[in-house]
Amino acid sequence: MEEQAIAKSVLETGEMVLNMGPQHPSTHGVLRLKIHTDGEIVSKIEPVIGYLHRCFEKHCEYLSYEQIVPFTDRCDYLASMHMDHAFSIAVEKLLDVELPERVEYIRVIIAELQRIASHLVALGTFGLDVGAITPFTWAIRDRERILDLFEALCGARLLYNYIWPGGVSHDLPPKFVERTLDFLDYFDPQIDEFNNLLSTNKIFIERTGDVGVLPPDVGINFGVTGPSLRGSGVNWDLRKNEPYSIYDKFDFDVPLGEGTMGTIGDTWDRYYVRVLEMRESAKIIRQACAQLPDGDVHEAIPKKIRPAVGEVYGRYESARGDVGFYIISNGKNIPLRVKMRSPAFCNLSVLSEIAEGWMISDVIAILGSLDIVLGEIDR
């Protein structure tokens, strides 16, 4: 009896609590995951967020609508244009302004370029998460060209403050369209090269295929959106389902996960949907560049933004998913309440659902495939 007790005390195998982050190479920022592990197997994950909370919503209650735009930039710093665009769309809905054609086209071109840039970072860092370093530098190299374009456009490379409620801050610089088309010509073969290097690599497929399957109904129930949900085969893209701006004028497909390397909705599908989306974005940019009308981009910018009493929920398909801005106006130039529905916030909440039962390495791969940006989660 006593021996048994001793044996039990010596051989007792308990769970180990592992603090992944907030300072960890693969949590994409200051995310902390409290992981309960049994050996390598993860039995429970508790995401702890808020390390990057910058009181965005509180700030909004003290700033006029124009002043909020730079703050939205800093929410999703990898897709700042999308945040500007999403906020501007919500405010324009509140103001009920009619935009010049040219503004809409410019916005679409910029937004799709931004989508490519953001997906490049997502794919590159996903490669880093599973241990491949070279795809990251290749992705960053191509993203650099987009940032050069943006620099020519508005002078900034990361936080643009370019899309304003009612218009855009500058018209396109000379030769911008040509340079964009040049970039697309350069970029198309790069995607193939990227696929050769990473997407179809046997080890990569072993690491991501069948791993962390997100069933479609679970995804919708958790509010997962964007490429992460489309990887599960759900045809849900606001650009198609609820066309905002002028997306209904363009011909493009919504890539869906097909389970090519395993089950539908696995990590590989979520990854590959982003690769395909870059091609679709390029398609949209080509069409928009071909149809770009002339006009004044500043003519619809209101002198003073002072919406009537009311509220609006503006929705936007950003690189990470469904961005929503819930704005309550009390008739002043400062909003009463701005609530941002951040897509990565909802996408991250599904992590503990799909990653439990996998190994530590898989948790990192799954987290990488959800493509979170902590600036947007914590706001």
Partner: protein, 161 residues
């Protein structure tokens, strides 16, 4: 379905449990009826609001009425609905985490920022702010504390310029 159709349908299933806010396409539900209405919205196959997009908490400004706006969408039928639940004097709102898992973090955020209480939430604690934070920052009557854990909070903001 359009907003009018949805209202009509909800009225036939649960008469008098909800009201329409004047001049807006928004349903107002009291916390007492919210369980019934939310179950109806989620589970009724003609409505099928399977996607809870956002829960936004708001402050009416009279220091006692707080509300939560639920933005619902149906991915199968493609219709949209905004529901508001308003509470007075700190009455708890029934949690909808059982229906939409997405509500879990959104309700925690509403609790964290606006101090809304959600009854039946499995893990209602602060999400963005630290556990030991005092007060609910997005309430209109929130005052910046002078000290946080013994550290003085800078009040003089002239040097910010």
């Amino acid at each position: 379905m359009t907003f009018a159709d949805i209202i009509k349908f909800v009225e036939t299933k649960a008469a008098g449990k909800s009201s329409i806010i004047e001049g807006k396409e928004v349903i107002l539900v009291s916390p007492d009826n919210w369980v019934e209405i939310s179950t109806l919205l989620k589970n009724e196959s003609k409505l099928d609001f399977d996607y809870l997009m956002c829960i936004s908490s708001y402050d009416k400004g009279d220091n006692k009425t707080y509300g939560a706006a639920y933005n619902l969408f149906s991915t199968t039928i493609n219709h949209y609905l905004e529901v508001r639940v308003e509470t007075e004097d700190g009455t708890a709102i029934p949690s909808v985490t059982g229906l939409w898992q997405a509500a879990d973090w959104h309700e925690r955020e509403a609790f964290d920022m606006m101090g809304l209480q959600f009854e039946g939430h499995p893990n209602l604690k602060r999400i963005l702010l630290s556990e030991d934070w005092d007060g609910y920052p997005l309430r209109k009557d929130y005052k910046e504390p002078d000290y946080y854990r013994g550290m003085p909070v800078p009040k003089d903001k002239t040097y910010w310029d």
